[in-house]
């Protein structure tokens, strides 16, 4: 028989305003096995914890029930306190009378009655609790960073700085990500390439960092400290370690009509290509969709011109399996497809461009060598209209319900730079709200208006109609209460951004959760912003939510520090609440093995001694407690009831249900 102490917390007024805590403590004191019951203003405080410790010693308690907030908040606090007072930490149960009671009810009588029931359920469970001891598992001292944009680069550099090995997996032929396509960065207007490429070179030269470019993660197994990841290295038909990046092949390749994705299809590249001059690794890649040799067997020009003998048309996709202690997701973002916004004539006129396309047009390495020329006729535009929030803050189903966060600032940048370089150009920006919360951000936007004479108009563009060589922009000016018709030469659309499409299948592999917009969710929106709820998986950059470069870099470094904190440990304490198979009941059906997402269950042949002194060899399930994460899938799948979860056994849960239904 357990000797149970009940401790009811007021949580200031959070619980006490809706739940009669004294009444709860009194009611629970009459429960079977309860030898002590009290209430206190803040049970999690030092004094509150001492109250529990003293009660354990004075009354010889063997089990503790704390009626307080969610176990996610303070279960550990109370477990530690009880361990210090000499009882097993797993003899503590939390009755959540805050999130599941006081916060969601208004009526005190009802809330108090429910709090008592929740307390009774916890008491019923403690009666069946048994002391559990946590084991340990080793930590593989190597990290994997998925995505080689500025987020992945910064995270990898910081982890390597602490002395740990890092692998970067990047699906494109080079690292650099979106930042490598950007011309200037707000609010200081320094050139993106000038600040990014030194970091790319640092990554390439760092002995602890290994880049798997043109590669994808294809499978993830294991758990925090012990992930096994399969990386698919796509065939680039060029020997990476032999190619010198001289670029001769990319000049001689006869297939000249391949849309250049680095310039968003606004110019062409060859079928063998190096994405841009500062690419890392600086290695050519053959695009199998366009290469004549790979498609028809005839050509072979690149092989002939390559002095390093790096071309290999027979290269195959390669699968590499590696072990990691931690995984950082840095899969980034893309602008949305504008197919549902035809009122802006994006598909009808080449002079309607997205902001990222505009970025390439203004970039010295872009399709116009940095001159502001319209894509249709190569003429200098004299009137440019910028449209903000294209697809952002859109709940109509075409776009994204969230604010893409970066558009206000980059539009101000584009408008300002256009006016600075080409003062003969009239620039209009249509905005719904100008959102500039950031250091020196609002000052930047105001400079665009006050010093550069950009026309900011509160209102939205309704439609864009190509007419001759002009784009007729019809828009509302809400403050003047009039409709404007502007004959523009170019229209720039600030398209909403969305997580990269590779993020969703990756989240499934990692068992990391996502929100409805496919952004990765964090373990806690305020206090654990760079950790995924899945242990050992960390978040860096725009895969977690829209972010500008300064924010991305800070989050990348924060993720790295969390990874370092994990990798410095030699061992991790395991969760002792793991599955356990009752071998006498197991019928060897393998149902549990099939549903286990961690590969923690194997089947063994075991010898059993029968009552008649004969022996029988039977096939039974065996759980590896170091790998099991206690998800409970096997306990549900097991048809014979042999599988049970320690700390959450079927008996314990039924006892709770009985206590609630009594």
């Amino acid at each position: 028989m357990q000797k149970i102490g009940v401790f009811v917390c007021w949580c200031g007024s959070n619980i006490a305003a809706t739940v009669d805590v004294k009444r709860v403590a009194e009611a629970l004191s009459h429960e079977n096995g309860v030898v002590y019951s009290t209430d206190y203003q803040y049970m999690c405080s030092e004094a509150g914890q001492n109250l529990i410790k003293d009660a354990i010693k004075t009354h010889g308690l063997t089990g503790v029930v704390v009626c307080s907030c969610s176990p996610r908040m303070h279960e550990n606090t109370f477990r530690k306190a009880c361990a210090l007072a000499g009882i097993n930490p797993y003899m503590v149960e939390i009755a959540n009378i805050r999130e599941q009671c006081s916060w969601i009810h208004k009526d005190m009588v009802q809330a108090t009655a429910k709090a008592i029931i929740l307390g009774k359920a916890a008491i019923a469970k403690v009666h069946l609790n048994a002391p559990l001891t946590a084991g340990t598992s080793p930590v593989k001292k190597r990290a994997l960073v998925i995505g080689g944009g500025i987020a992945g680069i910064q995270t990898a550099l910081d982890i390597a700085e602490a002395g740990f090995e890092v692998d970067i997996v990047e699906k494109k032929p080079t690292i650099g990500g979106k930042m490598s396509q950007i011309d200037k960065t707000f609010p200081t207007l320094d050139c993106a390439a000038c600040i990014l490429t030194p970091k790319m070179v640092d990554v390439a030269q760092n002995e602890l960092i290994n880049i798997y470019s043109y590669s994808e993660v294809s499978a993830v197994k294991g758990f925090v400290g012990n992930f096994t990841v399969t990386i698919k290295k796509k065939a680039r038909y060029v020997k990476e370690d032999v190619c010198t990046g001289c670029g001769l092949c990319t000049e001689k390749c006869p297939q000249k009509k391949v849309p250049n994705e680095f310039n968003l299809g606004m110019d062409n590249r060859r079928a063998i290509y190096i994405p841009f001059a500062q690419a890392v690794p600086k290695v050519a890649t053959i695009d199998p969709e366009y290469c004549t040799k790979l498609k028809t067997g005839k050509c072979g020009v690149c092989e002939k011109v390559c002095t390093a003998k790096a071309i290999d048309y027979n290269q195959k996709d390669e699968f590499i399996e590696r072990e990691y202690g931690a995984i950082v997701v840095a899969t980034g973002f893309n602008p949305i497809d504008l197919k549902d916004y035809d009122e802006y004539a994006y598909s009808q006129s080449p002079d309607v461009v997205t902001s990222l396309e505009f970025e390439r047009i203004t970039n010295a390495a872009g399709p116009t060598a940095g001159k502001l020329l319209r894509p249709s006729d190569g003429k200098h535009p004299h009137t440019i209209v910028f449209v903000q929030c294209v697809g952002s803050r859109d709940t109509s189903g075409c776009g994204k319900p969230y604010c893409s966060k970066i558009c206000c600032m980059y539009t101000a940048k584009h408008a300002m730079l256009t006016r600075e370089k080409y003062p003969d150009t009239e620039v209009y920006v249509f905005y719904i709200d100008v959102r500039t919360p950031g250091k020196s951000f609002d000052e930047f936007y105001r400079r665009a208006v006050e010093e550069y004479g950009v026309h900011y108009i509160k209102g939205m563009v309704g439609k864009v109609a190509p007419e001759g060589d002009k784009l007729m922009v019809q828009a509302s000016d809400l403050i003047a209460n009039e409709q404007l018709n502007i004959a523009a030469d170019m229209v720039v659309l600030a398209a909403a951004i969305e997580p990269d499409k590779s993020a969703r299948p990756l989240a499934t592999m990692l068992t990391a959760s996502m929100d409805t917009n496919d952004f990765f969710t964090e373990a806690h929106p305020k206090l654990r912003p760079v950790e995924s709820p899945t242990a050992g998986v960390f978040l860096s950059g725009a895969c977690q939510g829209p972010k500008d470069i300064p924010e991305t870099v800070s989050q990348a470094s924060a993720a790295a520090s969390k990874v370092i904190g994990l990798l410095v440990k030699d061992h991790l304490t395991c969760n002792p609440c793991v599955a356990e198979s009752n071998e006498l009941m197991c019928n060897g059906c393998s149902a549990c093995e099939k549903v286990c997402p961690y590969g923690a269950i194997t089947y063994i042949d075991k010898e059993f001694r029968m009552p008649d002194r004969t022996t029988l060899v039977r096939r039974v399930a065996s759980v590896n407690p170091a790998v099991c994460q206690g998800c409970g899938a096997c306990t549900v799948a097991c048809p014979s009831g042999a599988m049970d979860l320690k700390g959450f056994s079927n008996n314990q849960i039924m006892a709770e249900v009985d206590a609630i239904c009594k």
């Binding site: 009122e343 803050r393 109509s396 309704g462 439609k463 509302s476 809400l478 209460n481």
Partner: protein, 128 residues
């Protein structure tokens, strides 16, 4: 009927929730009748929210709206301003004597270039 009751009736008839509006003005940016109207699509949404129904009912704007529903189609928040215009027009038309565009007067206003479809649409709109 008080302004508040009229507002409630307009909301019920149209099924529109003006609180969803984020005041972007795309409805008025897209409206082909903008210059004809005293009150513009975005003002309909805001004025209904404020309960200024009789002002809207008295205005010619309810007849100047073409019911092309471009504002409904393009609103990023699914507010559907065109349905508000329609509801307020119905409120006016259904009140005895409140309809300030009489069906009997319409034939005189027609010109021969007016497409058949517009006449049918107008008849549907003004005689409910």
């Amino acid at each position: 009927m008080t302004e508040l009751q009229m507002k409630e009736q307009v909301l019920r008839m149209s099924g529109v929730d003006p609180l969803k509006c984020m005041r972007c003005g795309k409805c008025s940016g897209t409206c082909p009748s903008y210059d004809e109207m005293e009150y513009h699509p975005h003002e309909f949404v805001y004025m209904v929210e404020k309960g200024q129904i009789s002002k809207l009912m008295a205005s010619d704007s309810i007849y100047k709206c073409l019911s092309c529903m471009a504002c409904v189609e393009r609103c990023p928040r699914g507010v559907e301003p065109g349905k508000l215009v329609e509801a307020i027009r119905l409120l006016a038309v259904r009140r005895q004597g409140a309809n300030h565009l009489k069906p009997d007067d319409i034939p005189a206003m027609l010109d021969e270039d007016l497409p058949q479809q517009a006449i049918v649409t107008a008849f549907r709109k003004y005689t409910k």
